[in-house]
Symmetry: C2
Subunit: 406 residues, 2 copies
């Protein structure tokens, strides 16, 4: 080793880098990934449902159809036929669609173009941990919206917006997952959606609607998105204050990283510029492959819905059978997740090692709260588990909870 | 349209978003993409050299070998066999390699974890425009390093570092492309590399070495990378103050967006956290496909080298024949670009429409300078042009320059 001085590398990190932490879930997943442990901790779609043969065919078709262009640099906005198909779902122009490399990139780019240090961002309590990770580098201040079994409590939001206004804090944006929310599985009612869209419009707050699970409804009626309600209110796609994010990760496959944002021109214009600097464009072949897979999408969604409904129903049944009185849980109408609340005073993080001893794992709820709390909550995913795993897992969890309550 | 108030969307943009602009090159490319125009403006690898059949085979092999796992979420760090192969090139552990979605994402993530607002970033004059776009959202202050025909003038850098120190400005990082630089095609000598690595170590400045073209040397001897020299100096992979970025975009194909960063543990650790928030992981299938393509890489690099050498030699020959006296240009030893300097007083942006009238296009040099200037310079790429296009193009450009000089 030479005697030449060298920079202390840690001292060169940016302020925002110092605030970054490893995803709590990622760390927990390491504990739960021991062999023999039945894990409901991850949020993985069921891989046995992936249309592997069709994906193989789509790769071949895209490479035959486009030749070397499928492997060349391409436009930042995205593959035109894919943008057009997405735009058609909401009847908007393709120019209002930006293809992104997974919804996660969509959240990062939106954070980048919207959040100044200290800006107030409204999030559900609890909310998607990955969104907090995407926004964090832009150093926002979070305000949590109270939630109940129906998702965001819009009366409480009204009060909160008033309180914040009196403190001179005008929130910059509101982030919400109205359908089968991650982590709770809860869905916002039509009446609450309408009021949320109107309230945010009145208060000048941009809404980011994250909707990766919306197509995976297996119970009840589909509801209009916040984006559609915002479009009705604005009467103009380029004045809609709701931005819509969605993805093919939960309906088709996540590994191709094809997702999108729909937004008004002033937002889309800046997203394109931000995406140029972030990764130039989403992989060309992957967008072309996804376009080839679109005809398959309705049947694939149906397959996934049926499977997840069966898994969810079975899990709820087993929870009813094995969980002790006083343990509450959500009953999702779709998606991949449900949320368990233990009696106050219990700590799901402290209980996890005892569950793992019984060969079962979940994610403690606390990391899903932007400002902490929720010590007695946990998230489970039913999407990637067999009936046998669910039966054994709920029995073991029931025992863990009974022991803790004894 | 409803009367409900709506936020003025532009007013919600972040301060950093307001500083973003569309890539000047992107705007210029629109002008130059008229039919019949022979464009040397883009920076595209030659698509006819892409190993299309092998890529088709790689997709099939990866999907057969890994099954649904090729389409599932995967680790943020990247596909282990790909990381191991990359690490082996420099004899470092795989943990020091982070796979990224194109080198552009590498630059964005490095900007994110390193640059605080106002931090001084040293860049070549001129430098890669895309790096400026990646760093810009983190609001650096640029200091330009003087360059000459040998790339960065390290004597001048020494003086500059002293001047900055006297102003109380300690640069945070230095960004450089030592091999066949974009936009100039220039290569830094071994002696300059050594001094640059030592100087930056002494001054506590992190170095980002961007090396997408290094394998495409068609003349002269390969030189050690700044990363390798930094490693020698530090004697420890986790204390190397040089960070290395490279990519398969120029050697194999760009459209899969497979690239990487090699760095010391404190940097890699933060990169992983930043990448989790940025896109979770680089597309799974694409990394597996690239791994399948690795055995092909040496032959593919040779194919590309031979082709680019022929194109470069032909372009230089035609420039010699058709360009008027007083027009100077670089003679690259590899890569995709060369750089033309017209006599002082001429403005290549003003001349571009006249060139386009003659059905030929280039990129004016000014956008490649972080702090402006270079009005009499331009960049051309020879990588994606036929001999006929080069012959016709250089004749037309020669006429354009003669007319301007007359």
């Amino acid at each position: 080793m030479s005697d030449t001085p060298r920079p202390e590398l840690e001292s060169l990190l940016s302020r925002r880098a110092r605030t970054m932490t490893a995803s709590a879930i990622r760390e927990i997943l390491k504990i739960t990934q021991q062999p023999d442990v039945i894990s409901f901790a991850g949020g993985l779609p069921a891989p046995e449902l992936f249309p592997l043969g069709a994906v193989k065919q789509a790769a071949e078709t895209a490479l035959n159809k486009y030749g070397p262009a499928a492997l060349q640099y391409s436009t930042t906005e995205g593959h035109p036929p894919l943008r057009e198909w997405i735009a058609g779902r909401h009847g908007i122009p393709a120019q209002n669609v930006q293809i992104v490399t997974g919804s996660q990139q969509g959240l990062d780019l939106l954070g980048k173009i919207l959040i100044d240090e200290g800006d107030t961002v409204l999030v559900e309590a609890p909310t998607y941990l990955g969104a907090l990770q995407s926004f964090q580098p832009y150093l926002p201040s979070y305000a949590e919206m109270p939630t109940d079994e129906g998702g965001i409590d819009v009366d409480a939001l009204d009060t909160l917006l008033g309180d914040l206004a009196r403190q001179g804090r005008k929130p910059k944006l509101l982030y919400a997952i109205p359908n089968f929310q991650n982590p709770t599985g809860r869905t916002l009612s039509l009446e609450r959606r309408r009021r949320l869209v109107e309230l945010t419009a009145q208060h000048g707050v941009l809404v980011i609607e994250d909707d990766p699970y919306g197509e995976l409804r297996f119970e009840g009626e589909a509801l209009p998105s916040l984006y559609e309600l915002g479009l009705q209110l604005a009467g103009d796609v380029n004045r809609n204050h709701v931005v819509y994010c969605s993805s093919f990760s939960k309906t088709l496959v996540p590994g191709l990283r094809d997702a999108w944002i729909e937004a008004a021109a002033p937002i889309i214009g800046k997203l394109i510029q931000a995406k140029q600097g972030a990764d130039l464009h989403t992989p060309t072949l992957n967008q072309m492959m996804m376009t080839e897979l679109l005809p398959l999408l309705p049947a694939q969604i149906e397959t996934v819905r049926v499977a997840y409904q069966a898994r969810c129903t079975h899990m709820l049944g087993q929870m009813g059978e094995h969980f002790p009185a006083g343990v509450d849980y959500t009953r999702p109408q779709g998606g991949m997740f449900l949320w368990v609340t233990l009696p106050e005073g219990l700590d799901t993080a402290a209980l996890l090692p005892r569950a793992v001893e019984r060969k079962v794992a979940y994610v403690p709820g606390q990391p899903f709260f932007a400002r902490g709390g929720g010590l007695n909550t946990l998230r489970m995913s039913y999407s990637n588990a067999t009936p046998e795993q669910i039966t054994a897992g709920m029995r073991a969890l029931g025992e863990t909870f009974r022991e803790a309550l004894a």
